[in-house]
């Protein structure tokens, strides 16, 4: 962050290892979304290995009635995150594993540095009688993954993407140690523990996300005029 600010960049792109082969795709999505939704505080990506229930239509189903379901499927994360350099950057001790306790199975809670920083910032603003609600775009990319052979098979069987697209994605083997099931359990526990520690209510979560919108990545990224045009 300091480095990007020193070089006068308005935005920086944070990317987890394993996704670097898709950097061009992320940039394209960012450019497309930035044309459609300029001057956002963050553009983040909703990916099958990071979020629950990701599909071609899942961005349309994100509602805040069920907070835990909403968070599992749409929480802002730093796996592939393009954010303004003026945003608070991963500065919370809550994200350190174990500071929020462990699950009954002994999985330490934490991680999710960007999301927990947003919660922490929300709480600080709340103490001052203000509402922190960054303008964000959650971009759903159901086809981008580091691993998950079953997902690759799903797209091959469904013929939703042409073979040239699938080949260019060139799926890589998994690099992370933590299984997806463990991660989901950890996330639910972390959401609950962080909300409790910071005295964040469900209404606060709705306030925090009141300026966040969710979109499907592909049509906008390529300048598709009509985002409602079916792509299948």
């Amino acid at each position: 962050m300091r480095d990007a600010k020193e070089q006068n960049h308005a935005y920086l792109f944070s990317l987890s290892s394993g996704f670097q082969r898709h950097v061009g795709m992320f940039y394209s999505m960012f450019e497309g979304m930035r044309q459609r939704y300029p001057n956002q505080d963050a553009y983040y990506f909703i990916l099958p290995e990071t979020h629950a229930g990701v599909s071609l239509g899942s961005h349309k189903e994100l509602r805040t009635e069920n907070i835990m379901d909403f968070l599992c499927r749409g929480f802002p994360n730093e796996t592939a995150l393009i954010m303004r350099t003026s945003m608070p950057f991963f500065e919370t001790t809550l994200s350190q594993k174990g500071n929020l306790g462990t699950t009954p199975e002994g999985i330490p809670l934490g991680g999710m540095e960007f999301f927990l920083t947003l919660l922490d910032t929300y709480e600080l603003y709340k103490d001052e009688g203000r509402i922190f609600a960054p303008a964000m775009i959650g971009i759903t990319l159901p086809m981008l993954t580091r691993s998950t052979p079953s997902l690759v098979d799903f797209y091959r069987r469904s013929h939703e993407l042409p073979s040239s697209v699938l080949d260019s994605l060139d799926f890589a083997p998994a690099l992370e140690v933590t299984s997806s099931a463990d991660k989901l359990a950890r996330r639910i526990g972390t959401f609950q523990a962080a909300m409790k520690v910071l005295a964040i209510t469900e209404q606060d979560i709705r306030n925090l996300f009141s300026r966040t919108q969710f979109e499907f990545g592909i049509p906008e990224a390529f300048g598709f005029e009509d985002s409602n045009t079916p792509i299948i």
Partner: protein, 92 residues
């Protein structure tokens, strides 16, 4: 041709000059290569045209020889002040 194929073709057919200007305007990408990761293998996956946009984030205890070797290969490297390799592994 399906609509998705048309938009994908548009993406692949972009001219080189236009592409270079476009890439220049993009924000830098900070790639977190934390933990016990094979750096060389990971970096081979970076598409060449985006190489100059990449800044590699390493841990505070990443060996200096490795950082020097990355810099010798003309990678931009930033060393974390706080995160150690052990912490990075725990947070994976």
């Amino acid at each position: 041709m399906k609509p998705i194929e048309r938009v994908w073709k548009r993406f692949l057919d972009r001219g080189e000059d236009k592409e270079r200007k476009r890439i220049k305007r993009l924000p830098p990408v900070f790639l977190r290569l934390f933990g016990d990761i094979d750096y060389q293998r990971q970096l081979r996956d970076v598409p060449p045209k985006f190489r100059e946009k990449v800044v590699i984030l390493t841990t505070s205890d990443t060996p200096s020889e490795l950082i020097e070797s990355l810099r010798a290969d003309r990678w931009s490297v930033v060393r974390s002040r706080d995160v150690t390799n052990e912490q990075a592994k725990r947070n994976a």
